[in-house]
């Protein structure tokens, strides 16, 4: 974003390159929000992060990284009822957790405008499923807006607050990752006077109390409001019709897929058909669709996922007596991301008109080649304590990934950076679904399969999200399970938001009220709880081995801060500590003559800073620690069974001496 921080100060006429998520946040600012919260989740995280980062410059703005989505949406409702416009953001699966408040929101209605921005993740590049949250609105009745580009992301968000207030619904703003992480030009609008933002909760028992007959009355009221909203949407500025020439074919689309469609038409040189761009994809007024149908005998719905629009529009076609045909999922894939390529292919098939030669050639070439290429998956950062945790677990249970050997403990996975442990070379998870499924499912497995030991993993942020009741439940019901909490002090995966474990900010400022995790676990009734530095891999493995021999619920807290945060803090405090990449004070080195290529460091631990280098003869190769990426965590030094790795320490005049003391990592 521009140097003068247009995000805060920008006014009408200003223009900047902005991320889709930032555009949503800016739209909310232009609408004069006073509350913004989320539980972090890709691809939505930056929506609240950018507000939180800038709040010291923004009058009357409260931001919160809530412990979970249920709390976050309830917070937004409380702000709204206090007369303060509120923005709540979450990723697609967050709405599962927040579905309860969402379900009640239409019953009670809002006071000040409330917008729920949802980052969906088609193709699941950053999620454990690709659910389309639009379907929720068939029962929550939350209206849905779908911006197509960055400008609309801002403008729709701003306008959503007005619609929310006028019809007393929380409005959903849907943005797929392609929009959340689209960066492009944004024209700013003006900001509201922020001094007017003030909370004043007025009792409203008729709307806010839901019980027995009151709930039924509120139910009837929101159905009525829904009808009013439908009427408003018949000719609002949000739904647009582009008229065609004499063609009897029409296309309906929305959001980013509409942008794909317009460009696909341009690439294919097709300009003569009628198009309906839906800004609101719920509710859909019959009159709007009926009007669009006029003069058409074929209608094609171009949308991602399983046909939410098609479902509604086919019903309207039936109700309004449309005689033509409605197509949709016959031409566009219901699973995975719907890419511009998919739209081009679908349109080409529909018109039986071949796409450009260069397109076909590229698609074919790509298909031919991809099967031949080695796969690449993300892995833990260099020096990440999770790598040491997985290494320790696998060693404790006698598993090696260089020998083909089954591991006989069950490892329950969960959501966070450590989820990457399910990938090679660790392959250290047996199931992975949603937040805190690990312990909850693992508990039952431990009860029914007495022949296998069960280890459940969880990160600190995920544990605080909804793991506390899961752990209490395991204790109360006599589970036999080892629960390892990978406490790295941050919600690292989504860009390092604080958790109750965070002790110090990256500028070194201590947190206001950090939690003592061990005390919390103890207070839940766990008597077997130990804290360990995961980088002490030998001790950690021994602890795991010991814990697996005990019965009942055992908790090990693998406590070490996310290495990225530690490096950042060292940099910002300008001390180069032992772990900075910049200094030459010490380094780890593999002694070629001693290394027998046993692969303990290169494959079992698999630190990416250890690389394969070609000898001068260009034939043989050797293992080498790349000093430019090594962060000197010392774990490889601890795992090498052949003492081939040494620590070299330099003094200030650039002479080096070998360290003879073995590396002591203290807890």
């Amino acid at each position: 974003m521009g140097k003068s921080n247009l995000f805060i100060n920008g006014i009408k006429g200003d223009k900047a390159i902005v991320l889709g998520n930032e555009a949503i946040a800016r739209g909310a600012l232009e609408a004069g929000i006073g509350y913004a919260s989320m539980y972090p989740g890709t691809p939505a995280s930056e929506i609240i992060a950018v507000l939180d980062k800038n709040k010291k410059y923004i009058e009357n703005l409260y931001t919160e990284f809530s412990l979970n989505e249920h709390i976050s949406l309830h917070g937004a409702i409380g702000a709204s009822w206090s007369g303060v416009r509120s923005l709540c953001a979450m990723k697609n699966v967050g709405l599962n957790v927040a579905s309860e408040p969402a379900q009640f929101l239409s019953y009670t209605g809002v006071k000040a405008g409330l917008v729920l921005a949802i980052g969906s993740d088609p193709g699941a590049p950053s999620s454990s499923n690709e659910q389309d949250d639009r379907w929720y609105s068939l029962h929550t009745y939350m209206p849905i807006m779908e911006p197509s580009n960055i400008q609309e992301a801002k403008d729709f968000t701003r306008d959503a607050f007005d619609v929310s207030e006028e019809f007393s619904f929380g409005v959903v703003l849907m943005a797929p990752s392609r929009l959340c992480h689209n960066a492009g030009a944004l024209y700013f609008g003006d900001l509201k006077d922020r001094m007017e933002i003030k909370g004043d909760f007025k009792k409203d028992p008729e709307n806010y109390l839901n019980l027995f007959g009151m709930a039924v009355r509120n139910h009837a009221k929101y159905l009525e409001r829904n009808e009013l909203l439908k009427k408003y949407l018949i000719d609002s500025k949000f739904n647009k019709i582009i008229n065609g020439s004499s063609s009897k074919i029409g296309f309906i689309s929305s959001g980013v897929i509409y942008a794909h469609l317009i460009e696909a038409f341009d690439i294919l040189g097709i300009y003569d058909h009628k198009i309906l761009k839906l800004g609101f994809t719920f509710p859909l007024p019959n009159e709007l669709i009926k009007g669009f149908f006029k003069g058409l005998d074929k209608v094609v719905i171009v949308e991602e996922a399983e046909g939410f629009l098609e479902f509604q529009i086919k019903k309207i076609a039936y109700e309004t007596g449309f005689k033509g045909a409605v197509y949709g999922k016959e031409y566009f894939n219901p699973t995975g991301e719907l890419t511009i390529d998919d739209v081009i292919s679908g349109i080409s098939r529909f018109f039986e008109k071949p796409p450009p030669v260069s397109f076909d050639f590229a698609v074919k070439k790509d298909k031919e080649l991809q099967a031949k290429l080695p796969q690449r998956s993300g892995t833990f950062c260099v020096g990440c304590p999770h790598r040491a945790t997985f290494y320790s677990i696998l060693k404790a249970v006698g598993f090696s990934n260089t020998e083909e050997k089954e591991r006989d403990v069950v490892i329950a996975g969960d959501i966070g950076c450590y989820t990457l442990g399910l990938l090679p070379p660790y392959n250290a998870m047996d199931f992975l679904t949603c937040m805190n499924a690990g312990l909850e499912i693992g508990q039952a497995i431990s009860i029914f399969d007495k022949n296998k030991k069960v280890i459940a993993l969880v990160g600190d942020s995920t544990f605080y999200h909804s793991g506390v009741p899961a752990l209490l439940n395991a204790v109360q019901n006599g589970a036999d399970i080892l629960y390892i909490i990978l406490d790295n002090s941050w919600t690292a995966m989504t860009g390092h938001q604080k958790t109750p474990s965070t002790q110090k900010d990256i500028d070194g400022k201590p947190s206001q009220n950090p939690l003592n995790l061990k005390d919390l676990v103890k207070s839940l009734g766990v008597s077997y709880v130990k804290t360990i530095d995961p980088n002490s891999v030998k001790r950690f493995a021994a602890l795991i081995k010991g814990a697996l021999k005990e019965s009942g619920v055992k908790v090990l807290i693998a406590k070490r801060e996310c290495v990225l945060q530690e490096i950042r803090r060292n940099k910002s405090l300008n001390k180069n500590g032992g772990r900075s990449t910049e200094t030459g004070e010490s380094l780890y080195e593999i002694q070629k003559s001693r290394c027998v290529k046993c692969n303990e460091c290169f494959v079992e631990l698999a630190c990416p800073a250890i690389i394969l280098k070609k000898d001068e003869d260009k034939v043989s190769d050797y293992y080498y620690i790349d000093p430019a990426s090594c962060v000197k965590c010392g774990v490889c030094y601890a795992v090498c069974p052949n003492s081939a790795i040494r620590k070299v320490e330099f003094d200030l005049r650039n002479e080096f001496k070998l360290s003879d003391k073995s590396l002591q990592i203290t807890i």
Binding site: S358, K365, G495
Partner: protein, 205 residues
């Protein structure tokens, strides 16, 4: 309407997203231009595939800019639709082959990052000549350098390799914006002096 599409690909931690942001800002201050393009970010973790698209749109006139059939652009680049591809990792260049057509310009970095599957001995890493010959099946405009080495030699760090690669893009393609537009952006940002020098090095490759 004219378009110029650039796909920039590589791995997490290589500065791919920054390259996209610089290129987009370089086009911001001109009338009758639009710029967009999505990023594929790989969480916080390292070594995953990252890509960013930079799409420049040049309108002929105001009425084209206001035409709803022309003024909406996908955040993605379609297969065969890239005018240029920059890749900071040799193997990943091949994963970007789908964006290329016979006129595309390819600029790639020779320094490999060995994926885990190769580390485990399950697959082997393609040699540079194989990569080049596969690319040549599509386009003849292929340029590759060891940007890692150049950056290390000139700056004692790898961080400048992405800006050097951007310079190379201006040297080797007919990108319709002036290098000075990029220089203006670099001059305003962090590490301006080094970045300007890096861009210059790329321009002279």
């Amino acid at each position: 309407m004219k378009k110029f599409n650039i796909a920039i690909i590589g791995l997490g931690g290589q500065g791919i997203i920054t390259m996209g942001t610089v290129m987009k800002n370089a086009a911001l201050s001109f009338d009758l231009r639009d710029v967009s393009g999505s990023e594929r970010r790989g969480g916080a973790q390292r070594e995953g595939y990252v890509e960013t698209f930079v799409k420049y749109i040049f309108y002929e006139n105001k009425s084209e800019m206001n035409d709803p059939r022309k003024n909406m652009h996908s955040p993605m680049i379609e297969s065969g639709g890239a005018n240029a591809l920059i890749s900071l990792e040799p193997l990943e260049t091949l994963r970007g082959i789908r964006y290329l057509n016979k006129d595309s310009v390819v600029i790639f970095n020779e320094t490999p990052y060995i994926p885990i599957s190769v580390r485990m001995g399950k697959t082997s890493y393609p040699e540079i000549p194989f990569i080049v010959s596969e690319l040549q099946n599509v386009t003849k405009n292929i340029f590759y350098y060891d940007f890692d080495r150049i950056s290390l030699e000139k700056f004692k760090s790898l961080t400048q390799k992405n800006i050097i690669a951007l310079g190379a893009l201006f040297a080797k393609s007919d990108i319709p914006i002036e290098p000075s537009a990029v220089e203006n952006i670099l001059a305003e940002g962090k590490g301006a002096e080094e970045n300007l020098r890096a861009f210059e090095i790329g321009l002279n490759l």
